[in-house]
């Protein structure tokens, strides 16, 4: 028979799906590309499963497969977060023309960016 663990997992899967729908619907269309790279990075969580297989020494085949899986997942985690940050750093509001991205993000947002970013406002309105 189907064991209880699997049903419990199904609960989590379905509820997380609903949560995801709510969460992603609120993401500004402006940021759809960083959203994709962010979910890429987060889905690198397959690393946690791969780590165990690579390190448990079950047998040689499993270790080899685990090693490749760890490598592939790490590419996603490291690359995904790095490029997401690289993209997000470029998004600046008007008025924050300073070269330092950090200053523009915090300084400009308070004055010019408040509630004025058109796409963000629209996605909330829907």
């Amino acid at each position: 028979m189907i064991d209880i663990g699997l049903i419990g997992d199904l609960y989590i899967f379905v509820l997380a799906g609903f949560l995801g729908y709510q969460l992603i619907s609120r993401v500004s269309p402006l940021l759809h590309t960083p959203l994709m790279s962010a979910t890429n990075a987060i889905s690198g969580i397959s690393l946690v499963g791969s780590l165990v297989v690579a390190g448990a020494g079950y047998n040689e085949v499993s270790t080899a497969l685990g090693f490749i899986a760890v490598t592939a997942s790490t590419i996603n985690v490291v690359g995904g977060f790095l490029i997401t940050d690289r993209i997000l750093k470029m998004f600046r509001p008007a008025g924050g023309d300073g070269r330092s991205p950090k200053g523009a993000a915090s300084g400009g947002a308070g004055s010019a960016g408040d509630g004025r970013s058109p796409q963000g406002a629209a996605s909330k309105g829907k």
Binding site: R26, I42, G49, V52, A54, T71, V77, F81, F91, R92
Partner: protein, 458 residues
Amino acid sequence: MQRNLLQLCYLLSAILFIMGLRGLSHPRTARRGMFLAELGMLLAIIGSLLHHDIIDYKWIAAGLVLGTLIGAPLAIWIPMTAVPQRTALSHSFGALAASLIGISEYYRHGAALGSVRVGVIGIEVMLGSLTFTGSLMAAGKLQGIIGGFPITFRGQNFFNLSLLGGMLALIVALMFIPTATTAFYSMVGLALFFGILLILPIGAADMPVVIALLNSYAGLTDAAMGFMLDNKIQIITGSLDGSSGLILSILMCRAMNRSITNVLFGAFGKVQERPAGHQESTKPVRQVSIEEAAEILGTARSVVFVPGYGMAVSQAQHRVKEVADVLKSKGAQVRYGIHPVAGRMPGHMNVLLAEANVPYDELYDMDQINSLFPETDVVLVVGANDVVNPAAKRTPGSPIYGMPILEVEKARIVIVSKRSLNPGFAGIDNELYYGDKTLMLFGDAKDTMMKLAAALKS
């Protein structure tokens, strides 16, 4: 005790991931959100490293180092125009990891697995393998290694569906006879093949939908891996990832007027054949020189730029910004109108313009900018084609009929910067170019924008 600690770690990381995605609702909070997500990832990894099954860290360390060495340069040095390829590639990496772990699980436990567990592994490996090759194909098409044109053959959908049926049948058979290793590995082979077939018929212009869809598949694969290993954090992130991809594909579909079923069966990208003998463009177009265009733009009070993939191809975003800066210094109001499917992935144009230092307040999505066109003096279309084609509204027989477009014709004057009169990716003639408000500015986008900025300054 240790097991509970690990689960608590995972719970915390799940919360941090959710808060991270929430941050993306606004550019102002996005980076902080991503920091939280990174923290969550770190926590999950450290927690897993303490897992009681792990006895040897040699291969783990090697994988972590190698992955970092490959992943970091890929993220730091690729140009922003190549982000779609990178995204497709990383879907394939994720799927590869998932299917390899699935294969390892089957190899290790084999006959000892119950029928339900074998079924879960089968589904996981199938999803992983087809997403792996499918994403590689998509990345290849985006990078131009594989031709961007759709490849179709007779009975393609029937063939693909029977292939899918065959794989599912093999999985069911495995549930009855878990020891049938041949069935398992044939299923893996079929899935790898299926992934290629899935992307074969899709043209480059449909890539925004495909990437989003592959994102969703990658998420589902991840969740299936969580089911297989009974790992809750993977189920949660996989589910979040899957729904994110699904929502994006739905949005992209709406923006192209395609149905969801159409996408789920992968039978898209095949534009209906045009009626035979398509009219060669003999209609007159009004051409302007750089100087004339500069003169018109110089007197405009409000200007809207409409960028498309052509801008990305010729890397013209910095020059576009230059023109915009001159116009702003002359007192004009400058906006950018962005169609959801402009470019090769969701949000592609926004990123390219942000790269050129365009503040995000000036980027408007389709609904907002359409209501602003009537009060706009000049629209400058840079490398966009199908997303401004009025045939979508007027010509019921047109392949793009019904697709929501940027209604640039409502502005007083439309200037189109375009390489030549060749039709765009969808191969459809664009009536906009022959409109009485339209002026054509032929030439490479980057070159044209550079000259335009210079002409405006003098």
